[in-house]
Symmetry: C2
């Protein structure tokens, strides 16, 4: 019995490895699609990616997987399986159930519709005409509701939207998000109010000074060197390339990040590199002995985002890092930053101002952009908000939470691609990443009290090791709520993030 169960387990893990190898290969083909492919090759590539998806899907929903799972689960209580093995089985069960229960016909219909809706969204956005987008958005939502209905049964969630949330943030619920986001909104709006009353007006002309692409590449190297992210040595396991929208991808020994150089905004690429490297360090610091196992992966989208934002904001926008960086920036920017004072630089890259566009938002107002999207998603799937009402609901909330007037739907409800692609339940991860980051920071402050000193001297190692030991090397052993508990000893709480922001902004805005 014991040998049979461990044989089944090995077979199950071999199956997971196959799945992963296919998906990692897909990831590289996707990276090539974004970075290197000649324009004519795009259609050919989409056929390759679609087929690899089908192959991975087939591998996962093969009845053999269910059989193996069944035979393992039957003997699990009497087995000598350790927690890692148990978690691997639990995750495989979840992956199998979720993917096997959605009918193939619905899977392909969703992916077909997503391609159409994204295409229509592009046109509608260019034409600033929501009515072009609406019918296909409606279809996308209907398909997603069907899938969510099925997943709700599989996962045993309370409602459909919770089932969608769970795909990005396992175990998270709309009720919980509502609760923490309410607290976050109050906290952020209070900080905004203080900033609005402040006399300090950061001068952002510092970051719009012309810096050539060549010099910005040196900034990227400087930043990656600080982070200990090696893209150049003969032992390197990473690359840096250029794309319109920065992203990161990769697995263990082959990590790839991208950035975009704007000659009139060197800070944009500098913080992109910090952000994307934060993601990649998380992937690259998974435990080697967990490679190709379910536990050898990120815990959730929110935890992933916590790592990128930790590096970008908590470290990258800290006075200590900026103090270390500025002299180096001056060295490599051919005089563009001559005479810039550190205080002005810190204020410029931390400037807070309500805006219409999420991806351009600062650290304080960013969360409000997310809350708006979350509330609307939640209401759509609760049947409280129709596709007809979306633009108005959007615009009202932007006025209420951020005090900005949306002039057209392209800068409003159509600004992001997520809903067009059917990714409902994704947005909350971004803000949860900030909240998790705040909690991690609070704990790290206790564990490594002198980390700021180190960073100010250009030494990121103490922070990196803390993140590695506490988060990266725990892989997917825990659902996010449990991981937070294990790392910090506490439940999800908005206060650490709000305090961190309030304190930093208090110094910058002198309130």
């Amino acid at each position: 019995m014991s040998s049979k169960i461990s044989e089944s387990y090995d077979q199950l893990m071999a199956r997971y490895k196959q799945l992963t190898v296919i998906r990692v290969a897909s990831g590289i083909l996707n990276w090539d699609l974004e970075t290197k492919i000649p324009p004519k090759g795009v259609e050919q590539r989409s056929e390759q990616l679609a087929l690899l998806d089908v192959i991975a899907h087939r591998e996962l929903v093969d009845p053999k997987v269910n059989e193996l799972l069944g035979s393992i689960e039957k003997g699990l209580s009497k087995s000598k399986f350790d927690d890692v093995q148990k978690r691997n089985v639990q995750l495989m069960r979840k992956y199998y159930d979720e993917e096997a229960r959605i009918p193939d016909e619905l899977v392909s219909e969703m992916s077909r519709q997503a391609a159409i809706t994204v295409n229509v969204w592009k046109k509608a956005k260019a034409a600033k005409d929501y009515s072009i987008f609406k019918p296909d958005l409606q279809k996308t939502i209907e398909l997603k509701k069907r899938a969510a209905g099925i997943l709700m049964d599989v996962k045993g969630t309370k409602n459909e939207y919770d089932a969608l949330l769970d795909a990005f943030e396992p175990g998270m619920t709309a009720a919980k998000v509502t609760e923490v986001f309410d607290g976050m909104r109050n906290g952020l709006m209070a900080i905004m109010k203080k900033i609005e009353s402040s006399d300090v007006k950061p001068d952002t002309s510092i970051i719009t000074k012309r810096v050539s692409v060549e010099d910005q590449k040196k900034i990227s190297l400087m930043v990656m060197d600080f982070l200990g992210f090696d893209t150049t040595s003969p032992e390197s396991g990473a690359r840096l390339d250029e794309t319109e929208h920065p992203f990161s991808t990769g697995y263990y020994d082959d990590l790839r990040i991208t950035t975009h150089y704007h000659v009139n905004n060197f800070a944009s690429s500098m913080f992109s590199v910090l952000h994307e490297t934060g993601h990649s360090i998380y992937e690259g610091y998974q435990r080697q002995d967990w490679k190709y196992l379910p536990v050898g992966a990120a815990a959730s989208y929110g935890i992933h985002e916590s790592q990128s934002r930790f590096v970008e904001n908590i470290v990258g926008r800290s006075p200590e890092f900026l103090g270390y960086a500025l002299p180096n920036l001056k060295k490599v920017t051919s005089g563009a930053l001559k005479g810039v004072r550190l205080d002005d630089f810190i204020a410029a890259v931390n400037k807070v101002a309500p805006s219409k566009i999420r991806i351009e938002a600062d650290e304080v107002t960013y969360g409000l952009h997310i809350i708006i999207r979350f509330e609307m998603e939640r209401d759509i799937f609760a049947g409280k908000l129709s596709v007809d009402e979306l633009p108005q609901a959007w615009n009202e909330r932007y006025e209420r939470y951020l005090g900005v007037k949306i002039k057209n739907d392209s800068e409003g409800v159509m600004q992001d691609t997520h809903w067009a692609g059917g990714s409902f339940g994704y947005f909350p991860s971004y803000a949860l990443g900030n909240l998790y980051g705040g909690m991690f920071l609070q704990k790290m402050n206790k564990d490594v009290p002198d980390w700021k000193d180190s960073v100010s001297k250009g030494n990121f190692m103490p922070v990196k090791m803390w993140l590695r030991d506490n988060i990266h090397m725990k892989g997917n052993m825990y659902d996010p709520a449990d991981l937070i508990k294990v790392v910090t000893g506490k439940k999800l709480d908005v206060k650490p993030f709000i305090s961190y922001l309030d304190e930093k902004m208090g110094v910058i805005y002198d309130y």
Copy 2:
């Protein structure tokens, strides 16, 4: 019945499409492995490539494929299938039989051994010690003999080596190759003799003048522009990158070539770009309506090589192209070629001299390098030549055919990777490519008598269109011998190639 057979046919072609999509994806992952991968990622990649191989193999040897083939073949005589459909079925039958009959265990053993032998070969070559290489070469040959024994049955060839040849040059036999290579050897040695007696001694210092990598990139663009190979426009379906050894890969709308820039040999990259683009044009000019069908592919390795060599040598080393190129080269090489006379340039890039290394050989002696390898392969698989005897057999032939003394096995029998990787039967394709090219040239001279005029004015279109109509768009409709017949009306013959060379060298060497 008729509808059932066409249904089976459609299913069979859908299966071939899947196979092709997977292989094209693999091709890109291989390209990435050679060009972009961070060093640490290599092992991860080899797992991806191995798995995709297994998946493609499974798709092909699925009993369902045999069933579909069987049901189609039964009704084929009474069907309304056209020649293209019939050829598609015939090719699928061949692919299925060949791959299904080799036991999985032997397939994986061969690929495992190939990886080992290539690795050992690298070490042995570095150490100039054949004894390190010998045991694994022996194992590789034994495995290959087992596979060849099975393939001989499947294909119905006369001997094992013919079965290996057929994988690269369908329908070709050792007897036929021996016959044409004997003729080729006599022809080439006669030309060599005339050149040796000539007083003309080309000055190759012209091509070793220092040209920066940047300037050489401009040469690449000039060459690709001449060939109408677009790597830069928004409609481009191709890329050019750098690797240590130039190669080409790709499928239809996504073609990729690489080159290597040596600052002291601009001609090396210039002719590499001509050669690899020749390959890629062949791939890119397959018929659009044959995409993802067995007929929508190259006819053989030899025909592929005929296209690359046609572009590199027959066009690229012609006085007419060189006359067009030289002023352009002068423009982009920052004065490096100032004062170079056209006649001297033509002589330099066409210089003939016996050498030890195949890949550095000129147009005349190249064939002799191939003959040596062919004769030895043939004798190994006929049991007439043992692994112990290889170095001596190699060195003797190099002295006899080329008049050069091999000093060690690294510049001798271990210079190429082919045998280490198990690619026996591959070498003849290179020289057959030259012979095919000679025959194509003879026919093109009749069909497009003024092609040299066009080329001298920088217009490659008449040649390109002739190659497209006569070879590229015929895809894999014919085995090479039949294709030659269809295009030229003649059987394989060495004379056209020898005459072409003799004539060109006669002018250059003034004999």
